[in-house]
């Protein structure tokens, strides 16, 4: 997938982003995830408007699942907030790795606010793949178009799930849920062209599995920091050796 994509204007880049969103595998992932979230919101008595607003504001499926089931089951709000903030730590390194790709010399801070808020797994994985092929001054517009496409799909499928609710046969519901880990795994592997990224993926899978099975607290945070740092250090040592 080398070569470059050219857009003559920011509008064209934005629309190109929207089109990419609808053609990428994450469109299916969002369908699977948000049909499920819609059904969950319905079952816990939240309105479809509330669900839409939570997609716009939170824009992170794991946090939305925690929030909806937390409200629905009457969990202590401070515990829900803590669980959400722990699940959101992953957004921090994602934003740090993404923004330098989006920014040019002339980019103002306020132009980065939307790409920052839009950062999520699907947008991050797709942006890291596509943005290097674009002229730097078109990247922010493409990124925003991509995210608006994904968010629109998420909101639409939220509606579908809300009104279909529990009507899905269990095996079909299971295949929808399986879309998330399967496509995350495969699309992250596709993006991993450098040895460091492959190491980070492999180590994260191994450590994540180990720490989850051992029931370690904050398992994902440790898998990320440990696996990522180890991959980075190995990459540096190999670079120094050559």
């Amino acid at each position: 997938m080398s070569g470059s994509l050219t857009f003559n204007s920011s509008t064209a880049a934005f629309l190109g982003g929207v089109r990419s969103a609808f053609m990428s595998v994450f469109f299916l992932v969002l369908a699977g995830t948000y049909v499920g979230l819609g059904a969950l919101a319905h079952d816990f008595g939240l309105s479809v408007f509330w669900l839409t607003l939570s997609t716009l504001l939170v824009w992170a499926a794991p946090a939305q699942v925690i929030l909806i089931s937390g409200i629905g089951t009457g969990a202590a709000l401070i515990e829900v907030a803590l669980a959400i903030t722990l699940s959101a730590i992953r957004l921090f390194p994602m934003v740090v790795a993404l923004l330098p790709l989006v920014r040019t010399r002339d980019t103002r801070l306020r132009d980065l606010i939307l790409p920052t808020h839009f950062t999520s797994v699907s947008m991050w994985v797709e942006s890291l793949r596509v943005l290097p092929m674009l002229a730097p001054e078109r990247r922010a517009a493409f990124c925003n178009g991509l995210s608006v496409g994904y968010m629109g799909a998420a909101i639409g499928f939220g509606f579908v799930g809300y009104y279909l609710a529990a009507g899905l046969p269990p095996l079909l519901a299971a295949t929808l849920l399986f879309l998330t880990p399967l496509s995350f795994l495969i699309s992250t592997a596709r993006n991993a062209r450098m040895m460091m990224d492959r190491l980070a993926l492999g180590l994260g899978l191994g450590l994540g599995a180990l720490l989850t099975v051992m029931n370690v607290q904050f398992d994902l945070m440790w898998a990320g920091i440990g696996g990522g740092t180890l991959a980075y250090v190995i990459h540096r040592v190999r670079e120094a050796a050559t």
Binding site: W50, A60, L91, P93, R190, G208, T212
Partner: protein
């Protein structure tokens, strides 16, 4: 509580318990990423941590599935993910091919072995 407050309550929770604890990490990233370029070491390290965290999420979703996916035996879930991954590698790194075959494997395995 007044009627208006009861109506607004879920929205108040959405902002304070859902939005703010989640958004703070994005904003921190925005603040820290200022002045860094894409080849800088901090950015490389961040990318490795983000990738490994995502991999951890994948492992957790496969091992401890929830909802209807939990009714599919662990072996079927792991097997279907492995089949999808191998097909992705064989099919010139096509994500769609890998995901489609992995999903079919899960459907077939779930049909045969569901509890």
């Amino acid at each position: 509580m007044s009627a208006a407050l009861i109506d607004l309550w879920p929205y108040l929770i959405l902002v304070t318990v859902g939005f703010l604890p989640n958004e703070i990490w994005r904003v921190l990233g925005l603040v820290l990423a200022r002045g860094l370029n894409e080849d800088s070491q901090v950015v490389m390290w961040s990318r490795a941590i983000a990738t490994a965290t995502l991999a951890g999420v994948i492992a957790k979703l496969l091992l401890f599935s929830n909802g209807s996916l939990a009714a599919i035996p662990l072996g079927v879930r792991l097997g279907a993910a492995a089949i999808g991954f191998v097909v992705f590698l064989l099919a010139k790194r096509s994500v769609f091919a890998g995901v489609a075959v992995g999903e079919m494997a899960l459907l077939a395995g779930g049909f045969l072995f569901a509890r």
